[in-house]
Amino acid sequence: MEWETVIGLEVHAQLSTKSKIFSGAATAYGAEPNTQACAVDLGLPGVLPVLNKEAVRMAAKFGLAVGATVSKRSVFARKNYFYPDLPKGYQISQFELPVVAGGHLDIELDDGSVKRVGITRAHLEEDAGKSLHEDFHGMTGIDLNRAGTPLLEIVSEPDLRSAKEAVAYLKKLHSLVVYLEICDGNMQEGSFRCDANVSVRPKGQAKFGTRAEIKNVNSFRFVEKAIEYEVERQIALIESGGTVVQETRLYDADKGETRSMRSKEEANDYRYFPDPDLLPLEIDDSFIEAARATLPELPDAKKQRFTEQYGLSAYDAGVLSATREMADFYESVVKQVGGDPKLCANWVMGDFSGFLNKDSKELHEAPVNAAMLAGMLKRILDNTISGKIAKDVFEAMWNGEGDADAVIAKKGLKQITDTGAIEKIIDEVLAANPDSVAAYKGGKDKLFGFFVGQVMKASQGKANPAQLNELLKKKLSQ
C-alpha cells in the first residue's frame, strides 16, 4: 500500500526580550543557576504576574509577518500540572483565545514549486525552569533562570507531507523569527525548539491517522531523522497488523529512534482556565500599526528584490537572503563596490562563505568585513589584480595581513597589464616549447590552455588574463 505522511509542527520560539514575560528579571542565557529568578519567577506566595509589553509587540510582529490576525482581545490561561521546575504548579499560557490566529508560510520544495503551509495560531506563554539531573548524586537540582522567559508557541496546520517539507518549513520559520529580531534562533541554547505531530494514512484517504507527538527535537537534522524514523515505525506497525496509539514520544539522537514517553491515558488533565491575575489582553489598532512599522523587509520580498535589482538567479538570491545578516553583508559589499552585483554575489557565496565554514565562524566574527571585501573586488574590477590573484589576496586578508591594497603592495601582486611585458613572457614561453608550438599549429587546439598556464606561471600569476589570451592567440596564429 502507498502511504501518505501527515505532519504538523509546534515550535517554541524564545522571544528575545530583555526581561521575562511576567517579571522584571533578566532573560540572558548562561548565568549561574537561580541568579536570574526574582520572587515572581520563584512563584513565592503573594506574587503576581505583570505582562511584558515588548513580548506582545514581538508576537504582533510575527502575526503580521505571516499574514495572520493579531487578536484585539486574547486571554491568558493557566495550564495546571505539577513539576519541580514549574514553580507555580501552573504555566501561564494562552488557550482558547491566542494573540495570533490564522496565518501561513510559503516554503520552496525540491522541485522548485512553492507550497503554502497554514499557521493555525501563535500564542504567548512562559517557559519553565530546568531540572538538572547530573552532579547531584541521585537528587535533582532546579535552575529557575529560564522560568518566565517569554515563548511564542507557533502551531502549524497538519499541512506537511514529508520530513523534508517539515525541515523546509522549520528553516523558513527560523529565518523569519531571526529576521524579525524577535528570537535569536539559537537552537543549541533552546531558543528555537520543535515538537512534531506525525501520522500516516493510506494515500487517498481523507481521514487523518492516529498521531504521535515527538517532543523537543532540537536541530533541523534531528527533526528530519526523527520524523523519518517515526513514519517508518508507524507504517511497519500498521502493515504488521498493529495500530498506532496516541502518545508522546521522545527522540533519542544517539540511537536514532523515538520511544514512548507517555500515553494519552497518562497525559495530564491541564485544567485550563483564564488566569484571574491577568486581565484579558486588549490590543488596539495603533499598537498593531506601530508593530507593523517596525517590520523589516521579509525574506521572500528580499529574495524577489535581489533577483530584480541585482539580476541574481533565484538560487543565489535565496542563499544571500537566507539570513538577514548575510543579506545585509551582501548589500553592503555591493554598495561599496558600486557595481557588478554578480561578482559580489560570487565572492560572498564562494570564498567568503567557504572560509566562514572552514573556520566555523559566524558572519559577525569574520576577519574580513564588507569594506575589505569590497576594497578587494574593486581591485579586480579596475584590473589591478586578476580573479585568481584575488583568491590569494583574500586569504591574506582573512589571515590578518591587512586590507587588499596593503596585501597587493606588500606581496607585489599587482597585475601586469603592459602589452610589451606580457608579449615578452609569451615569447620566452613559446621559445622554450617548440614541440608544443608545432603540435598546436598541427591542430592540437587543446594546447592553448597549456600555453596560458605556462605564461601565467612565468608571470607569477600577475599577467592580466584577458590581455594574455588575446596576445597569445595573436602570437600563435603568426
Binding site: 512563584g43 506566595p45 503573594g46 495546571n80 488533565d269 491577568l278
Partner: protein, 484 residues
C-alpha cells in the same frame, strides 16, 4: 489609651500627649496579658514595633508625621512581611519567612503605622469561624465560647478586644464583614481592584480584596486612604484616583436612597438579628434617608456560584505549595510523587484540602463547562442584579450575617452550614462591589453587624453613610466586658 480610636490616637500623638513608643508598649502589654484568652495573634513582633515606633516619634518630633504616623496596627497573617513569618495560618507555611513586603504592608509602613504583629485567621482564608487555623481557633472577645467569624477572625477579635486599634483584613466571600459583624467592629471590603493584592497570599484571585478593620468608620476611612490605589505590580488593581475618604464623612445623608433587598430578610435570617437590622434602618429613616424595597433575584445562586469559582481558583493558586522551594516538606521523600503527596497532605488542613478537591473537580476536562463556565455566567447574572438595583438606590443595606456569632465547634462538622454563614456577603465579592459591616446592636451579648453595600468605587459614600450612623448611635463604642 487603648479605648481611643485611631483618629483620637493620631491627635494625641500629634499633640505629644503620649509618644508612639508609649502607645506601642501599651498595646504590646495588652497583647501579652490578654491574648492568651483569644489567640488572635500568630506572631507578635515587639522589636519591629518598637523600632518603628521610635522612628515615628522622631518624625512626630520634627512635625513631619502624616495623619497616621505612630499609630500601632496589626496585619492579617496573609500579607507578606519582609523578614517575618507569613504563615497564612497553615502548617504549610509555618516556617515561611517572607522575603518581601506586600504592597499594603509597604503603604501602611510609608504612612507611619507601626506593626504590632500578625493576626490569626482561617487557614489560607478558607473559613467563616477562624477554626481552620493551624494555630488553633480564635475566641470571640464578647463571649469566649463563641467564634469570632472568619477568615479575618484574628484581626476582628484583636480590634474588638482593644489589642490593636486597627488591622488589615481580606475579604473573599465575607472575610472582613462577617468577623467585623460577629465581633462588633467596623470593616470595609473595597471595590475589587481598589487595593493591591501584591504580596497578599492568594485564595481566590478574582474575589480577594484587602481592606481595613477598626472600631469606627472614621478610622476605616483613615486606614483605607493609606492603603488604596493603583499598583503596577498588580494587573487587576485599578488606576483610579484615591479620594481622601475622611473628607466626605460629614456629608449630610438626607435623601439618601437605601435599598433593602427582600431576599436578605427572608428564610434563614435569625429573627432577632432581623429586628436589630430593622432598628438600624429606622435610625437611617430618622436621619432623612428614603427606604426602598428592592429585589436581587439571583441571590440564591451566590453561594453555589461562589463554591465553584473560589475553590477552582484556590486549587490552582495553592499548587505552588509543593514542598519544593519553600514551606513544609515531608520527611525523607521516596520520590517526587511521594514528596508532593506527603508534603501537601501534611501541610494542608481539612478545609483547604476539601476546597482544592472541589476546585480540581470543577476544572477537570468534561466538567469545566458544567461547573466553572456555568458559574461564570451566573456570576454575571448576580452582578447584573446589583447594577439594576443601583439605578434605583444609592446604597443597599441588610444583615452582614444571618446569625450572631455561633459557638466554637457548632458548625465545624457541617461545611454547608458553615458556608451559609456568608450568604449575605458572598454576592458582593462575586460582583466586585464594596461592602461594609457596621455595629448595629446585640442579640443577647453577641454583636450584630449592619451590612452596607455600595456601587463600584463608592467607598467614600459607604464610609460617609456609616459615619453618620455612628454619630447617631453608640454601638461601635461598646467594649466587651473582659477587655475594657
Amino acid at each position: 489609651m487603648h479605648n481611643k480610636t485611631i483618629a483620637e490616637l493620631a491627635r494625641g500623638l500629634k499633640a505629644r500627649e503620649f509618644s508612639s513608643e508609649e502607645l506601642t508598649l501599651a498595646f504590646l502589654k495588652r497583647i501579652e496579658q490578654l491574648d492568651g484568652q483569644l489567640n488572635s495573634f500568630i506572631t507578635v513582633t515587639p522589636e519591629i514595633a518598637l523600632a518603628q515606633a521610635i522612628e515615628a516619634d522622631a518624625l512626630l518630633a520634627d512635625d513631619m508625621g502624616g495623619p497616621l504616623t505612630g499609630v500601632p496596627i496589626a496585619h492579617k497573617d496573609i500579607f507578606c512581611t519582609n523578614g517575618v513569618r507569613t504563615s497564612c495560618a497553615s502548617r504549610m507555611l509555618d516556617t515561611f519567612i517572607a522575603p518581601y513586603n506586600a504592597t499594603v504592608v509597604e503603604r501602611w509602613r510609608a504612612a507611619g503605622l507601626v506593626m504590632l504583629g500578625k493576626t490569626n485567621m482561617d487557614e489560607f482564608a478558607m473559613g467563616s469561624s477562624n477554626e481552620t487555623s493551624f494555630y488553633g481557633p480564635v475566641k470571640n472577645p464578647w463571649d469566649i465560647n463563641a467564634v469570632p467569624g472568619g477568615s479575618s477572625g484574628g484581626s476582628a477579635a484583636a480590634v474588638a478586644a482593644r489589642l490593636a486599634p486597627g488591622a488589615t483584613g481580606t475579604d473573599t466571600g465575607g472575610s472582613i464583614r462577617q468577623p467585623a459583624a460577629l465581633c462588633g467592629i467596623t470593616g470595609i471590603k473595597p471595590t475589587y481592584g481598589r487595593v493591591s493584592r501584591y504580596g497578599m497570599i492568594a485564595f481566590a484571585s478574582s474575589l480577594d480584596q484587602a481592606g481595613p478593620m477598626a472600631r469606627t468608620a472614621e478610622d476605616c476611612a483613615l486606614l483605607l486612604s493609606a492603603m488604596a490605589g493603583f499598583d503596577e505590580r498588580d494587573s487587576t488593581s485599578v488606576d483610579q484616583h484615591v479620594p481622601d475618604y475622611t473628607a466626605t464623612l460629614n456629608n449630610p445623608i438626607k435623601g439618601l436612597r437605601i435599598g433593602l433587598p427582600k431576599e436578605y430578610f427572608g428564610e434563614g435570617l435569625d429573627p432577632a438579628v432581623g429586628k436589630v437590622i430593622e432598628e438600624a434602618i429606622n435610625q437611617y429613616r430618622k436621619l432623612g434617608a428614603e427606604i426602598v424595597e428592592i429585589s436581587l433575584p439571583n441571590t440564591h445562586l451566590a453561594v453555589p456560584t461562589y463554591y465553584v469559582v473560589a475553590p477552582a481558583e484556590c486549587s490552582s493558586n495553592l499548587s505552588r505549595m509543593d514542598g519544593v522551594r519553600f514551606g513544609h516538606r515531608c520527611d525523607k521523600p521516596k520520590n517526587l510523587e511521594d514528596l508532593y503527596k506527603r508534603s501537601r497532605g501534611e501541610g494542608f488542613g481539612t478545609e483547604v484540602k476539601r476546597r482544592i478537591m472541589i476546585g480540581t473537580y470543577a476544572l477537570s476536562a468534561g466538567y469545566y463547562d458544567a461547573y466553572y463556565l456555568k458559574a461564570q455566567q451566573l456570576r454575571r447574572l448576580i452582578s447584573d442584579d446589583f447594577t439594576n438595583a443601583f439605578q434605583q438606590v444609592d446604597v443597599i443595606m441588610g444583615p452582614a450575617s444571618p446569625t450572631v456569632a455561633f459557638n466554637l465547634g457548632e458548625k465545624s462538622d457541617d461545611p454547608v452550614a458553615m458556608y451559609l454563614a456568608d450568604i449575605y456577603t458572598i454576592a458582593v465579592n462575586l460582583a466586585g462591589l464594596p461592602g461594609m459591616s457596621v455595629p448595629a446592636g446585640f442579640v443577647g451579648h453577641r454583636p450584630v453587624g449592619l451590612q452596607i453595600i455600595g456601587n463600584y468605587f463608592d467607598e467614600a459614600r459607604l464610609l460617609n453613610v456609616a459615619h453618620q450612623y455612628q454619630l447617631a448611635t453608640d454601638w461601635h463604642t461598646q467594649a466587651p466586658e473582659a477587655f475594657k
